[in-house]
């Protein structure tokens, strides 16, 4: 009995390991080929690179305007995540503590709106913001991320604000805090774990988003990493070497973050899904 158990455990480990190799293999292949010349890639894509030549990288670096795109992505992601967390927490807090008809119906409308797919909004969005001359601007994009991201964030915060004891807030107010001070000094810090969850979900989404930035950001100087990767691919689709390097460069930042925050990222996704 114990023997079959050990045996089945062993089989499971082997099967899962093979699967894991399959899952990670595309990334390894990408990394290997990013050091090779185009002819070496097309003649043997599985071969090891002869040297760790960085020529592809410097080419990709220049053509993608890597630093520029990286900073665009960074600014857009960080600002969007910050304002989504802050404003959504304030709104959810207000809805929970002022349980009026207004709060209930607005909350319901926000939850219901989550079913609307982006594709049903993108055409009028481009038309409205285009006629207001607000396209091709990072800050418009950040504003839109707040609009698209607030529903889910308010929804998740709403569940957790209920768990914050109202006595805590009353005590702070007796001690002389205004409602705003109470929120920033007591409630928002208590909600930190939820804020972490929401931030993780939003970073994964906004950092990698393609369709919305491709509609809003027009000039090359405003491009985010996914945008510049794709336009780089459009110009260099046959030159595999620099393309592979470009893809590695695009993946690199989030992989580095994952290396350090892997546990929290997986936890965040776990918590975000339990509704």
């Amino acid at each position: 009995m114990a023997g079959t158990k050990a045996y089945s455990g062993w089989v499971k480990t082997v099967v899962l390991s093979l699967l894991l190799v399959l899952f990670v293999f595309p990334f390894l292949l990408l990394l290997l080929n990013s050091f090779k010349e185009n002819t070496a890639i097309t003649s043997n894509p599985l071969g090891l690179p002869e040297s760790f030549d960085l020529a592809n990288y410097s080419k990709a670096f220049d053509y993608m305007n890597y630093f520029g795109s990286f900073f665009n992505s960074l600014i857009i992601t960080v600002c969007s995540v910050l304002i989504i967390s802050l404003f959504a927490a304030m709104t959810a807090h207000y809805f929970v503590r002022n349980n009026t008809k207004f709060s209930q119906y607005t909350f319901l409308m926000m939850v219901a709106s989550m079913i609307i797919p982006f594709q049903a909004i993108m055409i009028p969005l481009v038309k409205i913001y285009g006629s207001l001359n607000m396209l091709d601007n990072k800050w418009s994009l950040i504003y839109m991320y707040l609009g698209f991201g607030c529903s889910l964030a308010v929804f998740i915060y709403h569940g957790f604000v209920k768990g914050v004891p109202a006595e805590l807030e009353e005590a702070a107010q007796i001690d002389g805090c205004t409602r705003t001070q109470t929120f920033f000094r007591i409630v928002f810090p208590v909600l930190a774990p939820t804020t972490a969850t929401i931030s993780i979900l939003n970073v994964l989404w906004i950092w990698n988003d393609y369709l919305l930035p491709s509609l809003v950001l027009i000039s090359p100087g405003n491009r985010t990493l996914p945008l510049s990767t794709y336009s780089f691919y459009g110009t260099y689709s046959v030159d595999y070497g620099p393309l592979m390097a470009g893809l590695v460069l695009t993946i690199l930042p989030i992989m580095i973050v994952y290396l350090f925050a892997q546990k929290y990222i997986i936890q965040g996704v776990m918590q975000g899904s339990i509704k």
Binding site: I115, I123, P124, I265
Partner: protein, 294 residues
């Protein structure tokens, strides 16, 4: 006096706390949504400043647009297979990774990796694998199945897209299933063991019924993402060859922004929205019926 002051400060508090979010929510989601409804009754070409009302012409156009229905049917087929396969693979991975096996955290972290990377990049990586690596293996080993790029044959290109989607999302859904599996109370499972239930009985009678909420969430997410697929579709196949993998989202994009037929494109987007809404509501309704309390 006092109450008036109180009302004013309450109103100010409400504006401060909900104002920015609600204003943004209204101007980014709600106004465009209803304006989009209006657009479906116009013939805006994307350039002229004016447009005229054309009644239900665009909706008639939707029914006449054979390419739209073809891509719609294709999307349904894609959604059907990806929902089943992603969830099956994800559940099996989660099931294998919750019994305290050695290094299970490394496995979990590894399977999740594709979800860190955007669809555009994943599509480009697999484009390289399908058009170079597999063809190389095919010609070296003489396996005819691999000799020509899968992306150049309509039937195989569709399955390539399904394969990449399963690879992309299985790890994400796995994480949700792991959370679900871990919430199944151990004492119930132990009690069942004492009563003589074997592994399969426990899985079928206890674990799966208690996991219904996780299945609801995962199927909801895979349905939504499946219907909306765009990034991977664009960078893996560009809808080709011969539009054989053009999913509905890409078709709507093309109608509006490439053919400059915004009214028709928006009408098609709304038809898509209605169908997705009906399907997801039905799914949630029927799965909620299956839910049990521990």
């Amino acid at each position: 006096m006092n109450t008036e002051k109180g009302r004013w400060s309450r109103l100010r508090g409400g504006l401060l706390f909900t104002g920015p979010t609600l204003f943004c929510f209204l101007t980014v989601m709600i106004v465009p949504f209803f304006y989009g409804l209006y657009l479906t009754f116009t013939n805006w070409d994307g350039i002229s400043t004016t447009q005229s009302l054309v009644g239900f012409d665009n909706y008639l156009g939707v029914f006449k647009d054979a390419v739209f229905w073809k891509s719609f049917g294709l999307t349904l087929k894609y959604v059907l297979f990806t929902v089943i396969l992603v969830n099956a693979v994800a559940f099996l991975l989660a099931f294998g990774l919750t019994r305290g096996m050695k290094g299970q955290n490394i496995f979990r972290a590894g399977f999740f990796v594709p979800n860190l990377v955007g669809g555009i990049v994943l599509g480009l990586i697999w484009q390289f694998i399908f058009s170079q690596v597999l063809v190389y293996i095919g010609t070296k080993t003489g396996i005819p199945f691999l000799e020509a790029s899968w992306l150049s044959e309509p039937g195989k290109a569709f399955w390539s897209l399904v394969l990449v989607t399963v690879w992309q999302y299985a790890g994400y859904m796995m994480v949700i299933y792991i959370a679900g599996l871990m919430s199944v109370p151990n004492d119930i499972l132990e009690a069942a063991s004492i009563d003589g239930a074997n592994g399969w009985t426990k899985l079928g009678r206890i674990t799966l019924p208690l996991m219904v909420p996780s299945f609801v969430v995962c199927i909801f997410l895979t349905l939504q993402r499946g219907f909306m697929v765009y990034d991977v579709n664009l960078s893996l196949t560009k809808g080709g060859p011969f539009k054989s993998t053009e999913m509905v989202s890409m078709h709507v994009y093309g109608k509006a922004f490439l053919s400059r037929d915004y009214g028709l494109g928006q009408a098609e987007a709304l038809v898509l929205f209605l169908l997705v809404t009906v399907i997801t509501l039905l799914q949630v309704y029927f799965s909620k019926k299956l839910e049990v309390e521990a």
